[in-house]
């Protein structure tokens, strides 16, 4: 199982722990990667607001780089996944558009033929690695922990571009939460928006959205939250204190990136998973993991 890894901007910038934790677990799950080091930003839906064809060309460029390697693309960011799934569908569906965009790539001698698939790590683990293999790798079951899945928008909607989870009733994160021995928290906010795209310019609105989702998860008994999107992570973690003030509650809910949750169960050290980068401390989770590890050492 080999992929062209598209890290995206956040994992190379403000959430370095996502990149770190991904690299710490994929080998053991049998996922080999070649990183697309010359890939650009996917545009995050923002570039397209000003320049839709430019945003498509950025993504076609990335797809062409993967196609040249003969590999499908693996993303580790829900937003990248959504933007790239949509771009890929558009490019594949419209030969004239593909031709126009390819002309923009000529100076770099790149061409995209439309033969690449783009898959998020979450999907690769659920569908290709498989839950059985994941369970084989679990060394510390996270039993007694209740973990709230937070999908984020772009990995679910529009569902006809993503084609993986049911957008009304997704369950891929729940499957992984169960596979590591924890219990998923069911709550309405898990498919809602974290507010991140407008958090810099409309902080009040974004914090109200973010705070409501965190609060609902907490009230559902969550000990932690897990998300496949680093932009959601920034909103849920970095802005959590401000969100708590906005919704007038005490949150202190540790938020894990998907590969961090898997890594903790696979016995990878907290240091390797980069949890020290979080603004909301993960200590309460590490304590449970530490206790479980001691127990399994004794037995």
């Amino acid at each position: 199982m080999k992929y062209a890894l598209y890290p995206g901007c956040a994992a190379k910038g403000a959430t370095p722990e996502l990149y770190q934790s991904t690299m710490a677990i994929i080998g053991r799950l049998g996922i080999e990667v070649t990183e697309l080091t010359a890939s650009s930003c996917c545009g995050a839906g923002v570039v397209a607001e000003a320049d839709p064809e430019g945003a498509l060309a950025l993504n076609a460029r990335t797809f062409a780089q993967a196609e040249r390697l003969g590999l499908d693309v693996m993303t580790i960011c829900g937003t990248c996944q959504g933007v790239m799934s949509t771009a890929n569908r558009q490019l594949k569906a419209d030969p004239a558009l593909l031709q126009r965009v390819n002309r923009l790539l000529e100076t770099e001698r790149l061409v995209y033929h439309g033969n690449v698939q783009v898959k998020h790590l979450l999907w690769v683990v659920v569908r290709e690695v498989g839950l059985a293999k994941l369970k084989d790798e679990v060394q510390v079951t996270l039993g007694d922990l209740k973990i709230a899945p937070f999908y984020g928008c772009y990995i679910l909607r529009p569902s006809w571009d993503l084609g993986f989870d049911d957008p009304e009733n997704p369950n891929s994160l729940e499957k992984l939460i169960r596979a590591v021995g924890a219990e998923p928290v069911d709550y309405g906010g898990k498919i809602k928006c974290c507010g991140f795209p407008i958090i810099l310019e409309k902080e009040d609105i974004a914090l109200a959205m973010n705070g409501a989702n965190l609060k609902e998860a907490k009230e559902g008994g969550a000990d932690a939250m897990v998300t496949p999107c680093p932009l959601c992570h920034m909103s849920l973690d970095i802005y959590q204190e401000r969100a708590a003030r906005k919704v007038e509650t005490n949150l202190n809910l540790p938020v894990l990136h998907l590969p961090q949750m898997l890594g903790l169960a696979m016995g990878v050290s907290a240091k390797e998973l980069g949890v020290e980068h979080h603004l909301v401390p993960v200590d309460s989770i590490l304590k449970v993991v530490g206790e479980r590890r001691k127990e399994s050492g004794r037995s």
Binding site: V47, L58, T107, R157, C193, G195, I198, I205, I238, L279
Partner: protein
């Protein structure tokens, strides 16, 4: 097959609070949720209140929350819902005042559609002149297929926390007139300018809920994005939202990737007050190793990225 339908009931004159009631019904082949509601009203409880008219997904009256998502009852298959969710719960549209049971007050919805002045403003066209659209010129991107059912507004995650937000339906409608070639350019500019402030086009988070639930494939969010593009092209770049878009594109052209150390500064713009607001969080991120080096070298091949963005910009 006999199935259970759980319906949120609320009679404001009799009930202290909304409550759920469950009805069991023999389900027939091809039955829609609206068929089921009509049967329940006729056979079980004549007081059950819901709106409907055409039964054919044209009038937009019967939008409601079915198994947690906004749908037209008349084109939602009972069997498919059951297969998808293992049950059927029916609630009124969210974040709109409930009048009774499944009927909500749509006044705020209509008020917002009226607020965007949903008519062509074209003083230069004489009443006797050609009022029809020039052939093949209009590109409304299916926005005029909207049946005003309100599903998008009920599903909107911004409307959930700020009911003042104009919302997807009204903003999509505004785009339809911005895109109309008959509209006066001064009127078009005024229309765009009126949507720059709070509750306007820059409040949308692009969560895609409206696109997902729209029964007519209007894709309201995409219309909002087109409104934003039109505003930027018209030179309206003095909002946080516009600075975000323009600044983001500039950073990609410069580095190939987003530099999160510089992005907030682009959005903040020339305002000390806004800078002081983002700074404390920036410092905490810095201490946690979350602020990338602002002098980070660009990606390999960045000149090609820059060149292609230059070409598509024109």
């Amino acid at each position: 097959m006999r199935l259970a339908f759980t319906i949120r009931r609320y009679h404001p004159e009799l009930d202290a609070a909304p409550h759920e009631e469950t009805y069991r019904l023999d389900v027939t082949r091809g039955m829609t949720v609206l068929d089921a509601l009509i049967r329940i009203k006729n056979e079980e409880d004549g007081r059950l209140t819901f709106r409907y008219s055409c039964r054919s997904a044209i009038c937009g009256s019967c939008a409601m929350t079915i198994n947690g998502a906004e749908k037209l009852a008349c084109r939602t298959s009972v069997r498919k819902e059951w297969e998808r969710h293992g049950g059927i719960t029916i609630e009124p549209l969210r974040h709109l005042p409930v009048l009774k049971d499944l009927a909500v007050d749509m006044c705020s919805f209509w008020g917002k559609v009226r607020a965007i002045e949903p008519w062509v403003q074209a003083d230069h066209l004489t009443p006797t002149g050609p009022l029809s659209l020039p052939a093949g010129s209009a590109q409304f991107h299916n926005v005029d297929a909207c049946i005003m059912c309100g599903a998008c507004v009920a599903a909107c995650t911004v409307h959930e926390v700020d009911q003042g937000f104009l919302g997807p339906a009204a903003l999509a409608k505004a785009y339809r007139f911005v895109a109309d070639p008959r509209e006066d350019s001064a009127a078009r500019t005024a229309r765009l300018a009126a949507l720059q402030g709070p509750t306007g086009m820059w409040d949308c988070t692009r969560c895609n809920f409206c696109v997902e639930v729209c029964p007519k494939d209007v894709k309201p969010m995409e219309a909002i994005i087109r409104l934003r593009r039109a505003a930027i092209q018209a030179g309206m770049t003095d909002t946080g939202g516009a600075r975000h878009v323009v600044g983001f594109r500039d950073l990609i052209a410069r580095f190939g990737r987003l530099n999160e150390a510089l992005m907030p500064l682009k959005v903040v713009g020339p305002s000390l007050r806004r800078l002081l607001h983002v700074l404390p969080l920036g410092l905490r991120m810095l201490l946690k190793g979350k602020v990338p080096n602002p002098l980070h070298p660009p990606i390999e091949g960045v000149r090609h990225v820059r060149a292609l963005l230059e070409r598509t910009r024109r």
